[in-house]
């Protein structure tokens, strides 16, 4: 997916709940490129325009799993705290 598609898919999947400034996607992508979690390759869009396509790497997937479990732990904790009230 290229940047625009990523922004769109975030929006679509989250049912428009997550609406941030779309530009902030790009610094985030740079940080993931540095870490090697994603790779970027130039390709052509359906409309025949040049676009940079990002793809998750194995390291990225691993990191995702780590982040997910971390996130779930936090969410779980928050949920438990809220339910206990």
């Amino acid at each position: 997916m290229h940047g625009y598609e990523i922004a769109n898919s975030i929006q679509r999947i989250s049912d428009d709940v997550l609406q941030v400034e779309e530009g902030s996607l790009y610094p985030a992508l740079q940080r993931m490129l540095i870490k090697g979690w994603v790779t970027a390759k130039w390709g052509t869009t359906a409309g025949n325009r040049r676009a940079r396509y990002y793809q998750l790497t194995a390291a990225g997937r691993k990191q995702l799993a780590v982040e997910m479990s971390q996130f779930e732990r936090v969410i779980g904790a928050i949920t438990r705290v809220i339910e206990a009230v």
Partner: protein
């Protein structure tokens, strides 16, 4: 491994960062356009579609910067920018740049050159195995004593001694003298350097009747053995005997003090001396046992001394051998000179730094407006400081590099000037330590002395500064005060250096004008030694001497004589003696005098004045009553209240019948050991009446109308006409020997003089720059004064008054500093007090005049100010 890949990615981005920026731009542009397209399709107008897309995207520029900065190269890009900017500024101000770089280069260069010497002399370890364990015995000892110490001492793991004697080497085209180190087996072993070829002399070979073995130095190997890799086993003719080469030392090896071309066993080279307990002529080196300190070794030495004294009361009564660490022994007397020079050169660096800083500050003030505008446009204070610092760092790097070049040239000059004491230092070179030194010195200079102006520049209220609209009175009071302090301290430091140099110069001229006791002009000297194998009897030696002098004196235009040891030649022999009729002295406790044998009209040739009595005549020869001539010091010390003429003396420890000598004359004192050394009492005797066969050497002294090399060839011809196998060596004019004996003082004086001159120039530039800047700042004010009727004279007084105030202040502080500091160089001064008022006065006047001239140039400019122009100035 992960972080490595990450670094690689970051580096790739850095290299392709233009491409990176373009890609990012394209990517964001596509995003915006696609979003805009979407809005258009949902029925918006083109304008509102673009606006909505932008709104949703956010601040494009900010995200671009954030994406760029995510890669972490911001600092680097800033640096590149600062450096590029700095270089452009430096290129645009060639005058400022060259003065600043040159100032630093002089300071750094002089420091580096001196540091290279210090590095080689004081800091580098000696080229021996574990050199910190090596100690030296102060004073010489005899071979039997050395053997006893080797056997008894527990404090030493090894030890050995050496005595260098000249021996004839007759294996070449013409007979030459080589310096032969007579050693025991322990000597080379103790220094712990392995031979390059073959082996060393072993203890079993180093004994009475042992084989004649030789270990060659590398230079002997090159010069006389043709660098033959199969030289081991070769037979060489040395001192009338044949020796077998068993080893060759590496090129890097030289004994700590002694210069020897070849090493032979003491028992083989001089078996007579090797057995004599009372011939103290071996210089010994000892290696401390692991874990043994100097004090412990010294205590054991004292015990051995006592034992030896009990065992051999006649020879060893007053034994007191003192151990000195080798390093200290070697550099002990050059250390103070080097440290004073290092201190001096440090002051030069300080002056250079002060100059550098005040240059920078003056420029920052001139550029204040630019900085203020930058600050107003949003440049952070830190960034401004960094920019200014980058510039001063650039200058200091340039200055350091130029200084390194200067240092290279300077070290070469130092080596050319080096006195004999620094002879060990052929190895002075720039090593990593020296380079590190330069790096640190110039880097610190740039940062520390660039920091003050940088901070001063970044300080201040933007709005207020802008309001002043570039009026050149922006110079802050603190900045002015700081610059005044810098110039004042430059002058003070320069004064200290000038006083130091002045004191040395005065001492040197005193030393040089000192009467050596003889006339060195037009005297040529040469050294001869008769091989004991063929001249084993006094009569043969005397016959050779008499015949040689007869032949030489028959040549036109010269007068020749001979003496055992020539003044300033570095050698002399002391003998104990007894005076007839004086209270008896205990055996072993007799007073010692320098003893010299002469033949020919020695006193006439050297122009040593005869004070009382008569000179030797050819009739004072063998078989006639023994006679002696003494010097004035001898009379002062031993015949203070009596007429020395007719007094009788004999050498100590003589067996009956005593050989009484009658004093027939008194001659003037001669500075035998050096112009700065005290005169020892001396006794001259005729060579023909000598009974010491071992003193088979002599130094010819030949006075001629012109000292040319033709003379040397003529003398060699005459010598070889008598005996073709006698080498003629140590050919010097007496004036050369004088120069050598002055070399250390000359070296000190020249260097300190050079540094002082450097300091003077730098300080002059400093005060000039300061005053010129000052006048520039006050152009407006001066214009008003002139417009209001001030006379040129008044303006001149105004400007000069400012300069004079600084100069007086600097000089006063400098005098105080000099009084405090010159005490440290007392040991370098010859007959001059470190607070010599004359030197202080002359130096103060000199510096005041230089400061006055440096102020006068800008003052003249101020005088010529045209009020109309000055008022329009801004």
């Amino acid at each position: 491994m992960n972080w490595l890949r990450e670094v690689a990615r970051r580096l790739r981005m850095l290299v392709h960062r233009r491409q990176f920026d373009a890609d990012l731009e394209e990517e964001m542009q596509l995003h915006l356009e696609l979003r805009q397209q979407e809005h258009l399709e949902s029925g918006m107008t083109a304008d509102s579609a673009r606006a909505a897309a932008r709104r949703r995207f956010g601040n494009v520029t900010a995200f671009r910067e954030k994406s760029h900065m995510a890669w972490g190269w911001e600092w680097f890009e800033n640096l590149v920018q600062d450096v590029r900017y700095g270089l452009r500024m430096l290129r645009k101000n060639p005058g400022f740049t060259s003065v600043a770089v040159l100032t630093l280069a002089l300071g750094v260069g002089a420091n580096t050159a001196i540091f290279s010497v210090i590095n080689a002399v004081l800091l580098s370890p000696l080229p021996y195995k574990n050199p910190q364990q090596l100690v030296v015995m102060r004073g010489n000892d005899s071979p039997p004593n050395v053997r006893d110490i080797q056997r008894q001492a527990r404090a030493f793991s090894e030890g050995g001694g050496i005595n260098v004697q000249k021996m004839d080497y007759t294996g070449g085209t013409e007979p030459v003298q080589v310096r032969t180190g007579l050693v025991d087996a322990g000597f080379l072993e103790t220094l712990g350097v392995q031979p390059m070829l073959g082996r060393l002399i072993s203890p079993v070979e180093d004994m009475k009747g042992g084989p004649r073995l030789a270990v060659a130095s590398y230079s002997f190997f090159q010069n006389f053995l043709g660098s033959d890799p199969h030289a081991v086993g070769k037979a060489i003719p040395l001192g009338g005997n044949t020796y077998t080469v068993i080893g060759v030392m590496p090129a890097s090896f030289t004994p700590p003090v002694e210069h020897a071309d070849v090493f032979v066993s003491m028992w083989a080279g001089d078996p007579g001396a090797a057995a004599e307990r009372d011939l103290h002529f071996m210089h010994t080196y000892w290696r401390l046992q692991m874990g043994v300190g100097l004090a412990q070794a010294q205590a054991e030495m004292a015990a051995i001394d006592r034992r030896l004294a009990e065992q051999y009361p006649a020879e060893e009564k007053e034994r007191k051998m003192q151990l000195v660490p080798l390093q200290e022994w070697l550099v002990g007397d050059v250390r103070p000179a080097l440290l004073v020079l290092f201190g001096a050169v440090g002051l030069v660096l300080l002056i250079a730094c002060a100059n550098f800083a005040s240059l920078l500050m003056a420029r920052e003030v001139a550029r204040h407006q630019e900085l203020v505008i930058r600050a107003a446009l949003g440049a952070g204070r830190g960034r401004l400081i960094r920019k200014t610092l980058t510039e001063s760092a650039l200058l200091s790097v340039l200055g350091g590099a130029a200084g390194l070049l200067l240092a290279q040239w300077g070290t070469r000059m130092l080596l050319a000037l080096k006195p004999e004491k620094l002879a060990r230092l052929s190895g002075i070179h720039m090593d990593t330590r020296v380079l590190l030194f330069v790096l640190v010195v110039s880097g610190l200079t740039g940062v520390v002395f660039g920091m003050a102006p940088a901070c001063a520049a970044a300080r201040g209220d933007v709005a207020e500064a802008l309001n002043e609209r570039g009026r050149s009175t922006t110079a802050s009071a603190t900045g002015d005060r700081l610059r005044n302090i810098l110039v004042t301290s430059e002058l003070a430091l320069a004064l200290v250096l000038l006083v130091g140099a002045g004191l040395l110069m005065k001492g040197f001229s005193r030393l040089r004008s000192r009467n050596p006791g003889f006339n060195p002009a037009n005297v040529m000297t040469m050294y001869l030694q008769l091989p004991p194998t063929r001249y084993g009897e006094i009569s043969k030696q005397t016959q050779f001497r008499r015949e040689l002098l007869a032949r030489l004196n028959s040549l036109p235009g010269l007068q020749a004589a001979m003496v055992t040891d020539i003044p300033l030649g570095g050698n002399y022999v002391d003998h104990g003696f007894v005076i007839d009729g004086h209270p008896p002295v205990a055996v072993g406790g007799e007073p010692e005098v320098q003893t010299l044998s002469v033949m020919g009209d020695y006193f006439r040739v050297m122009q040593i004045p005869l004070r009382v009595g008569r000179d030797f005549t050819p009739l004072d020869r063998e078989g006639q009553p023994l006679v002696a001539i003494v010097n004035e010091e001898m009379v002062r010390e031993f015949f203070p209240h009596e007429n020395p003429i007719g007094a009788r003396i004999h050498w100590a420890r003589e067996t009956e019948p005593l050989q009484w000598m009658t004093v027939i004359g008194v001659v003037g004192d001669v500075k035998h050991s050096g112009l700065d050394q005290p005169v020892d009492p001396a006794v001259y005797t005729p060579f023909a009446q000598s009974n010491e066969i071992w003193r088979s050497f002599m130094t010819l002294a030949i006075r001629t109308r012109d000292v040319s090399s033709g003379l040397v060839e003529e003398v060699k011809k005459q010598v070889w006409g008598l005996d073709s196998r006698i080498p003629v060596s140590d050919v010097h004019t007496m004036e050369e020997l004088m120069a050598v004996s002055l070399a250390q003082q000359r070296f000190n004086m020249l260097l300190l003089g050079l540094f002082a001159a450097l300091a003077l120039v730098l300080a002059a530039v400093g005060i000039y720059g300061m005053m010129a800047y000052h006048v520039g700042q006050r152009m407006h004010e001066i214009g008003i004064r002139i417009a209001l009727g001030a006379q040129r004279r008044d303006v001149l007084r105004l400007v000069l008054g400012d300069g004079a105030k600084l100069a007086c202040f600097g000089i006063a502080i400098g005098i105080a500093g000099a009084i405090a500091l010159t005490r440290l160089m007392t040991s370098l001064l010859f007959e001059v007090k470190p607070t010599d008022p004359e030197t202080f006065a002359v130096v103060t006047i000199l510096l005041a005049n230089v400061a006055l001239v440096a102020c006068y140039v800008p003052a003249r400019r101020a005088m010529r100010v045209d009020p109309i122009v000055a008022l329009r100035y801004d």
